[in-house]
Every structure is written in C-alpha cells, then in structure tokens.
Symmetry: C2
Subunit: 309 residues, 2 copies
C-alpha cells in the first residue's frame, strides 16, 4: 500500500462538522466561520531534508520554498493569504545560523505577500531538518476556485513554462498569488490547481474531481528553457516529457469557458506582461487524458508517458 492508497482509505474516517465547505482533497480546505462573503482557506505543507532540499541548500531557500508551497495552494483557490505558523524539526547539532536563514527566507517572502508569521514551534528531529508550514487565507465565497468545476468544452490554460524545476526554480519560485486572484475574479474560470506533481498528474487530479477528461495539444505545452537544455544530457527526459512529468513547477493550471478563451488571453497580457499564459488543450466529456500531436490523439498514462500505437 503506497501513501496515496493509504490516504484514500483513511479519508472516510475523518470527522467533519458544520464549518466545512470543502474538506480533504483540494488544494486547501475551505471553511465557513460566519463571515458575510468570504470563506477561510486552511493548508499545511512540509519540506524534509534529503527529500525536498538537501544539506547544501541555502537556509534562505529552504524557508522560501516551505512558505511558497503553501502560498501556491492559496493561489490555486484564488485566495488571499493571511498568516502562517512555522514548525521546524531540528537535527542533532543544528547550526543556529542555518535556522535563522530559514526563518529569514520565510519572513522575506511573507512580508512580500503581507502574510503574518504568528508563531509555531521548534522540536527535535534528530536525523534531518524538516519545516512544516500551516497557513490561513481567505477567499470570496462566490469566486473560490476548486479542482472540481471543469466542464466539457472548457479551454485548458497554464501559467509560465513547465519542466526542469529541480535545476533551481523549485527553490526560488514566485507563487502565483496575484495571478490566482485575478483569474478567480474573472468569473469564467471553472476549476484551478497548482502544479506540484507535474502537469500529467495534477491535471488528472483536476479531471477526477470534475468527472471529465481532457485532450492536450503537444505543440502548445510551454516547455521551459531548462527542460530543453537538460534534454541533451544522458538519462534526461525529452523536453515534452519533462514538461508533462517533472514536478514542482508551481504554476497554475485552469479550465475556463471556451467562449472567453481569446479575451482571457488578451486581458492576461495586459495584466501580467512578464508571465506567459498558454492554452494547452480542452476538457472533454469522455474520461481519460489524451495528447494530440501530428500523428493524432493518444492516451497519456498515469505516469505521464505517451503510449505510442
């Protein structure tokens, strides 16, 4: 039994109550605490040494990444981050200067997004450092975007470029908070998710939640310069495969009304001239994930690999 299967088996035993609008299974939990027109967003995310960063990663980058991952989840709902708690597990013989750098990395990014860090704790984790962030945000009750709203015929869009994040972007990425709010405010976006596990996997999460399928256009998928550069190296995936399956892009993937597709792209260019938005395919009533290139449409398997007939 892997982690994902375990979590799926455990979901039914988790208690709920009247405050829960959306529980486990979206980028954030959504809570009604009695505010007139907003809901709360609630999220935790942990990074562990040797898994999400290593002992050579600058402390500032560890802190930035830990906080940015939670901000990316708030962004994926169209929300506004509010405050965070930081839990740091300290290994034996930890270096206080490294821990201070982690806090400074978190604090710098938090300041940029007007997020208060209201406490947390340090505990002992003898073999390796870990940093877990708990974050609260708010979102308009009617503008909150979930994974579950995609409709057949919707156009699929992605921000930025994909693939090769582990070469450096995963430590320095800018969470798409303002972009997520802008998209949520447009009124024609039906579903959104942030890309943490790779386009093929995260799109599948959105499709499962929405009860739909999708067809991607291979030529439209924006491959990052880093994924192209690395594709020449031995053992590195082809650029398109990297864009489909590399994790930690932390871009936004969204499904919007096809009727708004052209106007949305135009308005985006004015609002965010530095960051590309690409239409990469469409939502289909037929379940499953397919990719279309010059040879036609073929299924994309669970691991993002294209099945050649």
């Amino acid at each position: 039994m892997n982690e994902l299967e375990l979590i799926r088996a455990l979901l039914p035993i988790l208690p709920t109550n009247a405050s829960v609008v959306t529980g486990a299974g979206d980028d954030c939990a959504v809570l009604d605490v009695g505010l007139a027109d907003r809901h709360l967003l609630f999220k935790t995310d942990a990074v562990v040494e040797g898994i999400h960063f290593d002992d050579q990663t600058p402390g500032h980058s560890v802190g930035h990444k830990a906080l940015a991952r939670c901000l990316s989840d708030i962004a994926a709902m169209g929300g506004t981050p509010l405050c965070a708690l930081a839990t740091i597990g300290l290994p034996r013989g930890f270096d206080p200067a490294r821990v201070e750098a982690i806090y400074r990395g978190m604090a710098g990014l938090a300041t940029q997004y007007d997020v208060a860090i209201v406490g947390g704790e340090t505990t002992t984790n003898p073999e390796r450092l870990f940093a877990s962030i708990a974050m609260l945000g708010t979102v308009g009750q009617t503008s909150c975007l979930r994974r579950s709203g995609a409709k057949a015929g919707d156009a699929l869009f992605v921000t930025g470029t994909l693939g090769g994040s582990r070469a450096g972007k995963h430590l320095e990425f800018e969470p798409r908070v303002r972009e997520g709010q802008w998209l949520a405010g447009r009124g024609t976006v039906h579903a959104m998710i942030d890309l943490s596990d790779g386009l093929a996997t995260d799109l599948r999460h959105l499709l499962e939640a929405s009860g739909t399928g999708a067809e991607l256009l291979a030529e439209a998928i924006p491959v990052s310069a880093e994924a192209r550069r690395r594709s020449g190296q031995s053992g590195a995936p082809a650029p398109l495969a990297a864009a489909l399956t590399d994790g930690e892009d932390f871009e936004l993937l969204l499904a919007a009304a096809a009727s708004d597709a052209v106007a949305l792209l135009d308005a985006w260019k004015s609002a965010f001239p530095q960051l590309p938005l690409h239409c990469i395919g469409k939502i289909t009533a037929e379940h499953g994930l397919r990719i279309r290139d010059r040879q036609g449409a073929r299924p994309l398997d669970e691991h993002g690999y294209i099945h050649f007939a």
Copy 2:
C-alpha cells in the same frame, strides 16, 4: 544557543499584519478576521517518535496525544476548537495499520469535541514517525484568556493533579476544553496557560507575560497518585518536585481575582464534580517565583528546584 534562545532571537524578524491580535508567545495565536464578536485561534504542535512517544506506543495513543496537545492549547485560551489538519511524516517501511491507528486515535478524539479533520498530508521522514497537527478554533473577543493578564493579589489555581504523567497520562489525557470555556466565561479569570513543561516552568511563562511574580503554597499543590507512587523508586524525584517539574500534565493553570476565589471553587465543584480545582498560591507584585512551606518562603529556581537556605 539552545532552542528557546534561538526562537527568542528570531521573534523580531517575523512579519505581522492587521489581522494579528496576539502573535507568537501565547498558547495560540489570536486573529481578527472580521467576525463580529469572536477571534480565531491558530496553533500547531508536533510529536516525534523517540521524543514524545516511542515505537511501542500504540498508534491510537499517538494520534490521541497529537490532537489532544493542540486541544489543550485551545482550552488554555478559553476557546472552542473547530478543525484540524494532520501532517504525518512516515519512516521507511512504515506499517499501514499503525498509521491507520494514528488517524483513528485522532478521529476519535476529534469527534468527541466536534472538530473536523479537513485534510493534511503524508510526507517522508525516513528514520522516524512524526505527526504535526495544525488547529483552528474560535474564542469570544472579550472572554479570550491570555498568559498576560495576571494581577498582583490574584489567586492561582490548577485543575487536576500534577506529576508522573510520563507513566501513562501523557498518552491518554483529556484536554480541558469544556473547563477552559467555563473558566473564560466566568469573567474573573485574568490569565491562563496549559501545563506542558511542568508547573514551575509554565507558571514562569505566565509570570513573565504578566510582569508579576508568584508565591506557591507547597502543601496546596495537588500531587498525583502516580508521582507519589514513583517517588519510592530509586532516582525518582520527591512527590512535590515531580508535581513542580514533570512535564505533560496538560492541566490548566490560572490566575483569578482573589475576591472570587471561594465562589469560584464552589461553582467549579457543581460544574465539574469529577475534576479537582485547587488554589495553590497567589500572584505577587514582587517578581520571581517563591514557594512557601513550614520553614517559610524560598525562591524556586528556573528548573523548579527549591533553594534550601
């Protein structure tokens, strides 16, 4: 530099914003999100294998303890818990049945207090299991109890009995949620904290936050049966020392108006006939912590040891 010194050095760099009523340094952060008469409470707490439990501890108890520790912090503010996220770090070769038991332990206690578990995540922590809980609650804006409100002349009270928790209570304790709400609603309680690090240490936190001192009455401190039983064993502390310095009692310590002391004890007996409440001393204008026995009043040092003249 130890953990506490490190945290104190880092507190000034943590950003704040308009939502923060009370940031780092109390049992929970207190947030104003625009509710008419309530504030939000926000807290995280982690337990780590080999530190807070061991590999023989039943999974159910690990889950119970992890959630109960956060509930105890909500209780210490007089709050009502609302929902939680659970972050579980899984070691190599984890036993799915043990992880399920942890979730069942959390879910059982959460159900008792109408707390929703709205998600979380599992991640990898190769050498040992850890479980971190993030919790949200609410509290009346005017009834919220902090560590900082104690006044000279206040009477000091503690719920339950103290010491010897590591023999078993630390895994099974009942968080004092209803008791905390009752105390907050009385209107004469000025400051409260939950006992996680031991009476001597946690009282010192309350005194520092309040800018006061205190005098404890040695004979009035309720020593648990377990602390008395263990005191006969070689190397075990004397019963009073155990009650002062053993951690993880998870009882409530509070300072209340002396004029209400007798009435408070009477009303408590009717409200909570199963759980003792003891008056154990008083708040003093003079700083420092003293303990009075038949030989007079003497200072209690930072580690809870009584200085004999």
